[in-house]
Amino acid sequence: MTSAEKRLGAAANFVDERLGAASWVKKSLNKVFPDHWSFMFGEICMYSFIILLLSGTFLTLWFDPSQREVVYEGVYEPLKGITMSAAYASTLDISFEIRGGLLMRQIHHWSANIFMAAIVAHLLRVFFTGAFRKPREFNWILGIILLTLGLVEGLLGYSLPDDLLSGTGLRITAAIVQAIPLVGTYLTFFLFGGAFPGVGFLPRIFTIHILLLPGIFLAVITIHVMLVWYQKHTQFPGPGRTEKNVVGHPILPVYMAKAGGFFFIVFGVTAFLSAVASINPIWLYGPYTPGQISAGSQPDWYMGWLDGLVRMAPPWETHALGHTISWNILIPALIVPGIIFTGMAFYPFIEAWITGDKREHHLLDRPRNVPNRTALGVMSITFVIISLINGGNDILATHFDLSINQIMWFSRISIFILPPIAFVVTKRLCLSLQRADRDLVLHGVETGQLVRMPSGEFVEIHQPISDEKRWILTSHEQPAALELPASDARGVRRPGAIKNKLRVRLSKANAVAIPKVSPGELKEIEHH
C-alpha cells in the first residue's frame, strides 16, 4: 500500500466508523445509468440551475432592490442626471462599473432562458417516451411544479432591474391579479404595498426571487433527482434490456466523468453566448415610469405564449350588479393556463385510466408506437406555438411587413383549428411509421442492387435486418382496447355507464395500431 492510499484509507475509516457510509456508497458507486442523448435535457436543467445560483449570488453582492428614487451619476452618459430607482441604478452599475458584472448578468439571464428551454425539452422527452408512467407519476408532478415555479421565478427575475420593459411586464402582472373576481383589488394592493406600482414590490419580489423560490427549487429538485436515483432511470428498448434490468455505465468513473464534464460544457456554452450575444440591454430601455412605454414590448419567450393568448382574447367583460368581470384577462391569463397545467399534472393518471394498465414501466416507448399520446403532444405544441407567434405579432408585423390585425385573426382562428389537425396528421404519421417498421422487419433493407433473374425479370436484393434491430422494432406491446360491457353477465346494468362508454371509446382510439410482425409471419414470407 502506498502512503497516499494509507492516508485516504484512514480518512475513509474515520467517516465509516461514524456514519457507516461504506455499504451504501459502495452500492451507489456501482449504480448504472443508461445512456441516450435525450436523457441530457434533464441534466441541462440541473446544471443551468447551479449556474443560476452561482451567477445570481454574484449579482446580489451589488444589486440594491430598492424603489427609492436616486439621480444617476454613473459612467453611462445617456442616462446621467436622470431620476430612477436605486434598483435600476445599481443594475447599471453592475453592467458598467463592476468588472465582469455585465458578463454575470448576461450569464444569469442566458442560463434562465436555457433552464426553461431545457425544462420544456425534458418534459417533451418524458412525455413522448412515456417515462411518466407508473411508478414515476410523483416525479412527473414534481416536474410540472418546477416548470410552473420556473415561469414565476423568470418573471420576477426580469422584473427586478426596474427598467421600462420590466415595469411594463409588472403593470400587466398587476392587471392580471387585479382581474381576479372578489379579491383581486385587495391582492394587488397587498402585493404592491398600495396602488400600482406601489412602494414595496421590488424588495418583496427580491426576497422571493433570491431566497424563497430558490429554496423551494432546491428542495424539489433534490427530491426529483433522489427519486430518479431510487427508482432507477428508464431505458430505451434494445437487445438485453428488459423491464427488470437497467443497462449502462456505472457512476464511477464513466458516468461521473461524462456528467461532470457536461456541466462544464453547459456552463462554457452559456458563458460563450453571454460573451458574444447580449440580451436584455436594460440601459437602452431607460428607467420605468408608468406613463411611458417602448414599442415592441416583449416578455421572455417562456411567458410569450401567455402574452399571445392575452393578445388574441376577444374583448369580453361582464358588468352586472355594480361589479366587473374581465373575461378578456381571466380566460387567457388564468383559466386556460390553469386548465393546461392541471391537465398536464394529471395526465399520467388519465392515460392509466384509459389503458387500464396498472403495471410498472421501465422501458420507454418509441413515440410512433403510442400514436394517441404522440398526437396529443404535437397538438399541445401546436397550440403553444400559435400562441407564441401571436405573442410576437407586433414584431412579426414590423419585420415582415404584415398586418397586425391579420396575424391576430389568423391566431384567433387557427388556435381552434390547427391543433386538432395536428392531432390527426400526427396520428396518421405514427401509423405510417409503424407500417414502415413492419415492412422493414418483413422485407429488410433495400440494397439498391438489381439482379436479373433467369426469366429476364429484374428484382432488387433486400438485406434482412439484424437480430438487434428486429428486436427493437418488434419487442413493444400492442395493448388491446378495454372491454367494459354496459351490463354484467347476469344482464344487470353496471354503474357509471356514461363514464365507461367514454373510457371504452378512448381506449379503442388508443389501441389503434399496425400489427407488428410475428416470427411465424416472417418465416412464412421467407419461404416465398
Binding site: T188, F189, F267, G268, G291, H323, T324, G356, Q478, P519
Partner: protein, 331 residues
C-alpha cells in the same frame, strides 16, 4: 390485457466491441494527448480571463466582423471564461469516451411494492397508534382540537394584513378635478389651445404645486393624451362633443385593458394603439375599441379653457381609468 402474439427472441446484450484506443497503443497515446491538449486549452482560457480583467481597459472597442464594434474587455472576459469551462468539460468527456472502460453493466430492478407482511405490519402499527389517540372516547379533546387548529391558521394570515393599505376608492380617483390645468409632460408648462396644431398629440398631466413630487402611483393613473383634429372629423354624440374644446379631445393614456401606456397614434387613421396587446381605439368615435382585447373605450376627460385661456379639466374623470377590477361600477 394485450393481444400478445408469439414474440421474437431477445438477442441479448451486444458483445462489447473494443475501441481503437483499447487495441492500438498509438491510438491510446493519441487519445491521451488530445485529452491533455483540451485541459491545456482550458488553462489558457483562465489565463485569458485574468489578463482581460486586469489589463484590457473597459473602454476599448474593437471591430469584429459580423458582430461590429465590441467592447474588448467584456468580450475577452467572457470568451476566456467560456474557454476555461468548455474545454475542461470536453477533456473530461473525451477521457471518459476514449480511455475509461466502456463495458456496459447490468443492474437489476426490484418491484417497489412492499411485501404483504410489511404492509400488514404497517397497517397494524398505524391502527395501534391511532387507537392510542383514543379519538372515539375523548369527544372533548376532539372538539377542542378542531377549534384550536381552525383558529391556529388565522394569525399567520392576519399578520400579512399590513402588506398594503386597503384599496378603498383609490383606483377610481385621479388628480384631475374641475379646474385643474393641463400641463405638458415633461416640462410642466400650461397649454394654450393655439399651442396645438391640427393632427398633433401631446401627453399632459394635472398641474401640481411647483416642484412638488409626483409619486409613480399617480403617474400610473394621471397621464392624458391631447389630440387636436379638425372639428368636422369627429363622429361624437353631442354630450361627448361638448367635452372637447375647439377640436381638442382628451383621453386617459392608461389602457383600459391592462394599464399600459397607449402610446402609438396613427395620424392617417386617427387610431390610438396600445403596444402591449394591440387594442386599437378610434379617436374620432370617443376612443371606441375597434380591435384587440380591450372591452372598454379609453375614458374621456372633459376639457375647456380658464380665464387666462389655458386648457383645464372641466370635471374629473367620470369613471375609473386603467384596467378593470371587481369593484368597478360603470360600463
Amino acid at each position: 390485457m394485450s393481444n400478445e402474439i408469439e414474440a421474437f427472441k431477445d438477442p441479448g446484450t451486444p458483445v462489447h466491441a473494443p475501441r481503437r484506443a483499447d487495441v492500438d497503443p498509438r491510438a491510446e497515446k493519441r487519445a491521451e494527448q488530445q485529452v491533455a491538449l483540451l485541459f491545456g486549452l482550458s488553462a489558457l482560457g483562465s489565463l485569458l480571463l485574468i489578463y482581460s480583467y486586469i489589463w484590457i481597459p473597459d473602454n476599448l472597442f474593437i471591430f469584429i466582423p459580423v458582430m461590429g464594434d465590441q467592447n474588448a474587455h467584456q468580450l475577452f472576459l467572457g470568451l476566456g471564461m467560456a474557454m476555461s469551462l468548455f474545454f475542461l468539460g470536453m477533456a473530461a468527456i473525451l477521457w471518459a469516451k476514449k480511455l475509461m472502460p466502456d463495458t456496459e453493466v447490468v443492474n437489476y430492478r426490484h418491484e417497489f411494492r412492499s411485501s404483504d407482511q410489511d404492509r400488514e405490519e404497517f397497517v397494524k402499527t398505524v391502527k395501534d397508534g391511532v387507537a392510542g389517540l383514543q379519538f372515539g372516547r375523548r369527544k372533548l379533546i376532539k372538539g377542542s382540537l378542531g377549534a384550536s387548529l381552525g383558529l391556529f391558521v388565522l394569525p399567520p394570515v392576519l399578520l400579512l394584513r399590513d402588506l398594503g393599505p386597503l384599496p378603498g376608492k383609490e383606483l377610481e380617483k385621479t388628480n384631475w378635478k374641475a379646474g385643474t390645468r393641463l400641463v405638458t409632460d415633461p416640462g410642466d408648462r400650461p397649454i394654450l389651445p393655439s399651442d396645438l396644431e391640427v393632427g398633433s398629440v401631446v401627453q399632459v398631466l394635472p398641474e401640481v404645486a411647483h416642484d412638488s413630487h409626483r409619486p409613480l402611483s399617480d403617474i400610473a393613473k394621471d397621464p392624458v393624451l391631447l389630440i387636436r383634429l379638425r372639428p368636422e372629423d369627429f363622429a361624437l354624440t353631442p354630450e361627448r362633443l361638448a367635452m372637447t374644446h375647439d377640436g381638442i379631445i382628451a383621453f386617459s393614456k392608461i389602457c383600459s385593458h391592462m394599464g399600459c401606456a397607449v402610446a402609438l397614434y396613427e395620424q392617417q387613421t386617427k387610431h390610438l394603439l396600445c403596444p402591449c396587446h394591440q387594442s386599437t381605439f378610434d379617436v374620432t368615435r370617443a376612443a371606441k375599441v375597434i380591435f384587440g382585447p380591450s372591452a372598454r373605450p379609453l375614458p374621456q376627460l372633459d376639457i375647456t379653457v380658464d380665464k387666462e385661456g389655458y386648457l383645464i379639466a372641466r370635471a374629473a374623470f367620470s369613471e375609473a381609468v386603467g384596467p378593470s377590477f371587481w369593484e368597478r361600477n360603470s360600463q
